[in-house]
Symmetry: C2
Subunit: 322 residues, 2 copies
């Protein structure tokens, strides 16, 4: 009898590898959400004041699961794109004493993309509809204090029969003109943190390219101005090394979360004037213009018939077009 | 010598007829603007109070002429569509004690539509770019008092080498759910005024059709709700009787202006609660969503590189997405 040194193992099929990757990505997005909730609830609860809004209590995230079939809306707006009724996500919203509104959403959705949708929203080629699977996390923070910038972060994993890829990014939008500069300490901290994250994963991430893509993407052509001071933006990231791509995705999430917490800490107790609150309201109007006129993530959700409450929770709570 | 009973007259050319029609339309839009300013300034000045906002002064329209060449923005965002640098308009804004913001804009612009622009924004066929001329008036009122509905009215005359046509409409958006009904007195007054205007011009206007088109157009698919309680909406109006089309256009403007003034008068002194002001802010958010996601007039201006200040002055002054 021969000793079996290497017992016969089941070779995982392509399909089961892909399933495992979907699970890994989705599990990470949920895990990051839990970290985000813990960090920012801690900040709301324990950060020393003074707090800007009289009587406001420390905020906690309210997490609300949703499925497509429980939305009271049609699951398809874009001809032939549709979501499976069983898929969905968890919407997280915090309203507190540092954050006027903060949202963290994780979803895992699947269904069919129409050809039009692929071309116009996803910017991928291919005739005819495609089945797809997508999971991601979105984080949007609108602080009370006009001295604290607005944050947006999103990472996602998309799978179609032809390919699988990561996309995402993080960008910072200071509210006050006087702080919308590349020399502001918040700007420098944010850029250097993302630079470090990219350079630590340089086999898959090109910081210079991702930074340029961010500047190009978060731009309002009708006003000829950038949304904020930048960050990183990438799409169709597929190095053929899933683990490396996943590790970079994790670094983007954790780096952003930590860097932004530091930016919040150094600004949220600064006194502000009514004029600065007004400036914040106007700047937030530009944020709304970008999201509704240009943002592909917003269009992705709206056109697929996703959860409107989640998709539009990126809208700032208080906005002025005086 | 024979008496000349009918002296020889110059037969106007096709081109000069069209020029005269452009002038007539543009002159009317300016004339209507002057009527609007007079009526609503009078209301701001002489309507008996009490006025809702402490210390607010009667508003007057500030009229600011603009030309494309004086905008600090590129004149073309949509490939190959462009505006002539010499064309422009007059932007009118009032901030007062009844109206938080009211805008009345008249413009006369000309240039070239790209093929894409024609298909997607104008919904007209035809390969290749087209020269065009367009003039119109837009009226948008955002009153302070949540009991007073928001008004939108627009009429326009468009000319391309292939055709010339009128378009426009008027619709009312009550801010309070309790008043967003077809039985509300404001709703009934508004509908009956527009019905009368259409029926007085029934050779060119079909009220039932225009009312249905309004309901279909001012609809937010992502929320499955109408923007307001309706009104009328029409496009590509060309009966081959310019004078009749023009007369109907005038009726739409004057009827809307007068009916809305009556609605304002009967509501603007009603006391309101903080909760109602909040409801107004949220409803206005839906208004923003419609304008930036779907409104063809907004896209028309933005994609042609028009005057952003005018185009986006339809945005409500104070908006909440809590």
């Amino acid at each position: 009898m021969t000793a079996v040194l290497y017992p016969e193992r089941e070779v995982p099929s392509q399909a089961s590898v892909l399933e495992a990757r979907k699970n890994t990505a989705h599990a990470w997005f949920s895990n990051l959400r839990d970290q985000v909730c813990e960090l920012y609830e801690e900040l709301e609860e324990h950060a020393p004041g003074p707090f800007p809004v009289k009587g406001a209590q420390p905020g906690r995230f309210s997490l609300t699961p949703w499925t497509v079939q429980n939305l009271d809306r049609p699951t398809s707006n874009e001809a032939h794109s549709r979501l499976d009724p069983n898929c969905g996500g968890v919407q997280g919203i915090l309203r507190g004493r540092i954050f006027e509104k903060m949202a963290v959403h994780v979803s895992a959705v699947y269904g069919t993309f129409s050809e039009t949708f692929k071309n116009t929203v996803l910017k991928i080629d291919g005739a005819g509809p495609s089945e797809f699977w997508a999971s991601g996390i979105s984080l949007i923070a609108h602080p009370w204090n006009p001295h604290v910038p607005t944050l947006h972060m999103n990472t996602r994993f998309l799978v179609t029969p032809q390919k699988a890829w990561f996309g995402g990014g993080a960008d910072l939008t200071p509210m006050l003109d006087s702080r919308r500069t590349q020399e502001d300490p918040d700007t420098e901290l944010f850029h250097s943190a993302l630079k470090y994250a990219c350079e630590s994963h340089c086999s898959v991430a090109n910081y210079t390219q991702f930074k340029t893509q961010c500047d190009d993407y978060f731009f309002l052509p009708h006003r000829q101005e950038h949304r904020g001071i930048g960050g990183i933006f990438y799409d169709h990231l597929w190095s053929e090394n899933f683990d490396a791509d996943m590790a970079f995705t994790q670094a983007v999430g954790q780096t952003t979360m930590a860097a932004y917490a530091q930016i919040v800490r150094s600004n949220f107790t600064k006194p502000w004037t009514a004029e600065e609150r007004r400036e914040q309201g106007i700047r937030r109007g530009r944020y709304v213009e970008f999201n509704l006129l240009y943002d592909r993530g917003t269009l992705f959700g709206l056109k697929l018939g996703g959860n409107i409450d989640s998709i539009l929770s990126s809208m700032p709570p208080y906005v002025l077009w005086p």
